[in-house]
Structure formats: structure tokens, C-alpha cells
Symmetry: C2
Subunit: 287 residues, 2 copies
């Protein structure tokens, strides 16, 4: 009888045998290769004496791997987009900065979530790093960089993008608490139950009468928050003026951005129109 380690190579499908690693699979064959291992094995191979690790542990591990795969493939898309050497180098600089910024923003968010405070600085820092840069400023910079934009244009795009990105997130915070779930498609309880550290809640905590502040501290971040309790929080956010203040901050930022587009600058007319439409859309949206 042959030794198992001699048998083994015959059982291995061709594509798994030490392939020459410089050969790239196309997406189709790569998908096939991955799904092949999901098929049930022979009965003897799947019989085990204990259930193995909990399903949620495996699920979490696989979800993380899918996230890493999406990241790796998004890089690959960029690297194979047919850019020139100088274009690729320039855009990678923006991408690298953007990644560090958004990770920093996520960190600020994660460590503040669950225990909202009066700290408006922190709320604004989260908005800037997690949303304004990642959602508006850097995407504009990426496009502009690929088009060979001079530094002056990048500066102007930042001046446009940062207040608009802040307004975008402030609108998001309002919709997360006051929005119509039928229109937003999002529960109005989620942000409150999670205890998102928003400017809305920070301002309310600063202004609230002691008994209202006590309710906010007890209920924002309460994972069992009921609809009635959420309604009470909404009342407090309105009574303290926090809701109105946030609406005011959104308007201020929209005006600032629209003023900027009518002042002297180097943004071309067609791009101006698009940026004006974007500014209206993200600050006035209901979903």
C-alpha cells in the first residue's frame, strides 16, 4: 500500500497543486476556486466528535475576512484602472491619507459611543474625520488629483467639502432621531440605543435642566430603550433647543458653501453646478 503522503497529491484538484504563483486567476476562476471549498465533503470527512467553535465566532471571523477581501479588491481595482505612473502615485497619496483619517474618526467614534457627554469638540472631531473628509473632501480630491488639479483647486475643494461634510452628518444625526423611518428606512431607535456621541445630544446635555439631563444620561445608550422613552428623548432634544441649533448649523454651513461657490475661485462652471446641487441635496435630504 502506498503511503498517505504519496497518495495525497493525486487527490488534490489540479488548481490546488502548487500552481506557479505568478499566474493570476481571472475573477471567474478565482470565484470558482473559492466556492469549491464550500461544497460538502464526503461523509467520513465531516464526521466529528464535537460541534467545533460557536457559529457566531466563525461567522464573525468570516465577515472580517470578507471585509479585508473587499478592501484588497478595491485596491486592486484602483491599481489596474489603467492610470499613468504619476497618476497612480498621486492618487495613492490621497488614498493613504484618507484611510488614516477615517480609521482615526472611527476610533474617536467607537470610544465615545455608549456614553454621550457634553463634549462638543469630540462630536465635531468625529464628524470631520469620519464623515466630512471621507465622504466629501477626499473623494473630490481623488477625482481632482486624477485630473491633474493644481494645489489651489484642492484647497478650494476642501473649503467647500469640510463644512458640507459636517452639514451632511448633522443632517444624518437629525434623521437618525427625528426622521420618518418609512422614508429613511432606518429605525429611529438605533442611534439612541447605541448611544452615538452626536453634537445633537452633546448640545442638549449642555442646555438641559437637571432632571432632563438625568434622563438623557440614563437613556441615551440604553440598549433596551422603548419607543415611549425615545419619544421623551426627542422632546428633550427639542425643548433644550438642541434640535433647532443643529438645524441652524446645517443652514449656516450650506450658506457658507453656496457663498463660496459664488466668490472668485478656480472651480469650472460645470463643476460648480454639480457642487451646488450636491450641497442642496445633502443638507436638505429627508432620507
Amino acid at each position: 500500500m502506498r503511503q498517505p503522503h504519496d497518495d495525497t497529491p493525486d487527490k488534490i484538484p489540479r488548481r490546488d497543486r502548487t500552481p506557479s504563483p505568478e499566474k493570476r486567476g481571472d475573477p471567474q476562476s478565482r470565484y470558482h476556486q473559492i466556492t469549491e471549498h464550500l461544497r460538502p465533503k464526503s461523509k467520513s470527512a465531516i464526521t466529528v466528535g464535537h460541534p467545533g467553535p460557536p457559529a457566531d465566532h466563525r461567522g464573525t471571523s468570516c465577515a472580517l475576512l470578507v471585509g479585508y477581501l473587499a478592501l484588497a479588491w478595491s485596491d486592486e481595482l484602483l491599481h489596474t484602472a489603467g492610470l499613468t505612473g504619476p497618476q497612480l502615485a498621486a492618487v495613492l497619496t490621497v488614498m493613504d491619507t484618507m484611510r488614516t483619517e477615517v480609521i482615526y474618526g472611527q476610533y474617536l467614534d467607537v470610544t465615545a459611543t455608549g456614553s454621550p457627554t457634553t463634549d462638543t469638540e469630540r462630536a465635531l472631531a468625529i464628524i470631520r474625520y469620519k464623515t466630512a473628509k471621507y465622504t466629501i473632501a477626499r473623494p473630490l480630491h481623488i477625482g481632482a488629483t486624477l485630473a491633474g488639479a493644481p494645489p489651489q483647486l484642492l484647497k478650494e475643494l476642501s473649503a467647500y467639502a469640510m463644512p458640507l461634510g459636517e452639514a451632511f452628518q448633522l443632517r444624518d444625526d437629525l434623521l437618525g432621531v427625528f426622521g420618518d423611518p418609512k422614508i429613511t428606512g432606518k429605525s429611529r431607535l438605533e442611534d439612541l440605543r447605541e448611544g452615538k456621541h452626536t453634537l445633537l445630544v452633546a448640545l442638549a446635555l449642555q442646555k438641559a435642566a437637571p432632571r432632563h439631563a438625568a434622563i438623557l444620561r440614563r437613556q441615551v445608550g440604553n440598549p433596551q430603550l422603548t419607543d415611549a422613552e425615545a419619544a421623551q428623548i426627542r422632546d428633550i432634544l427639542a425643548i433644550t433647543g438642541a434640535r433647532t441649533q443643529v438645524e441652524h448649523m446645517i443652514s449656516e454651513r450650506r450658506e457658507q458653501v453656496l457663498r463660496l461657490l459664488t466668490s472668485p475661485h478656480t472651480i469650472r462652471p460645470r463643476a460648480q453646478d454639480a457642487l451646488r446641487t450636491l450641497a442642496e441635496t445633502v443638507t436638505r435630504r429627508t432620507s
Copy 2:
């Protein structure tokens, strides 16, 4: 009294005020920026009504972010290493392939861990994608690609790296179960408790007498495995011949690799010496 949203900007440290995003912080200032937010805030800002999310949830979230940051910064190091355009484009192709491969290997590993089977194909596929390519083949390709290696040399490096990478992991599997913890610095229980799907265990399951197979199925992947039970598993791995078979597979691969280095090829003499030393080291190591 001024409105809070008017006050807010004054409280924000200079570096947090909508900075022009095209300005990159150097690592030092970036570190400062990050640690600043770790400092305790004023008492009023940290008083909360409930404890917030469990510490382990926050810890896990932050650990993931640190992992993503390390990945982003490793990319940035590569992008700013002073490579030429063609060098950068060529090395990114290898990096992208390597990432997909190692994620695939991790996936195969994660989904097999906890319930070892007789499936030697799976055990070898894990070794190839997770270890052989990531630890030996791709690093050699990255260096060779930066040095402008022709396709023939990359092929020869693969022919060297894949069997050696397999041998490296097979040695690792043996050390994980039979190694001296004083020398390896690693517990001999960890792999067995986790239920790592290794070729060693798969071969033993194929060869074991029914009562031994039953013990393996029950105990490999048992998170409460005791030292005495681990000793019993080691005995079974030896009795079935699995340990000897794996040692034999390691020797075979070392011989294959060393033969390759004495056959006609395009690898330069100095590199040959380094590769020969590497082959001996990774296959004969005790730690």
C-alpha cells in the same frame, strides 16, 4: 450669551479645526493628534448615567482599527519607498495577489478549525495559501520584482518557495504539538485545543484504529483539553505513523528544494547560498 454652536469653534484645538486636508501630518504630529483624544476630559464631560458598552466590545473594536491602521500604514510605507513608477506598478500587482491568497487561506483555515477531519486536501490547501505563498513565495517575488526579475526567475523562485513553504508549515505543526515549550515559547496545547486542521491530524485520523480515531475526534478541538489528554493525542499521532509521515514529507520537500538549487537555473550564486541556508533553517528548526 452666545449660542453653543458659536462657542464651539473656540473650544476646538487648532489642529482639529477643519484643516486643509491636503496637508499631511508627519508621523509625530499624527501620533500626538491621536493620543490627545485619549486624555481624560473634564469631570462634567465624563459623568454618565450608565456604564456604556462592555469593555470587551470596545477593546475588540479598537484592536480591529489598530489592525486596519497597520495595514494602511504598511501600504503607505510601500507607496513612499521611493520606487519608480514601473517598480511601484509591478510590486502592487504582486501585493494584490498575495493579499487575496492569504485571505483565502485564512478563510480555509477558519472554516476548518475546530473540527479536524481526514481531509488532507484541505490541510494542504490551507498550507499553500496561508503559509507557502504568503511566507516564502510572495516575499521572494516582491524582492525579485523590485530588482526587475524576468518571468523565468519568478518561476524558479516559485518552484523553490512552494515546497519549502509547505515544509515550513509542516514543521510548525509538529512543533505546535511535539515541540519543547521551553524552546518554542509556545504552549503544546494551543493547536490541539483550537482544533487546528493540520495534515498531521488528518493523516492520523485516516490511519487510526477506531478507538484511537474516536479519541482524536473527541479531543482535538476540545478547549478544555488537559496535559494528560494532550499526551494521549501525541501518542496516537506517533502510533498511527502520522508524525513520521509528516517528518518524511518535510525531508522530501527539503531534498526537492536543495536538488533544485543544484540543477540548471538562473538564480545567481550569492542568492543560491542564501536560499540554501533558508531551506535548512526553516525545515530543521526547533523553535
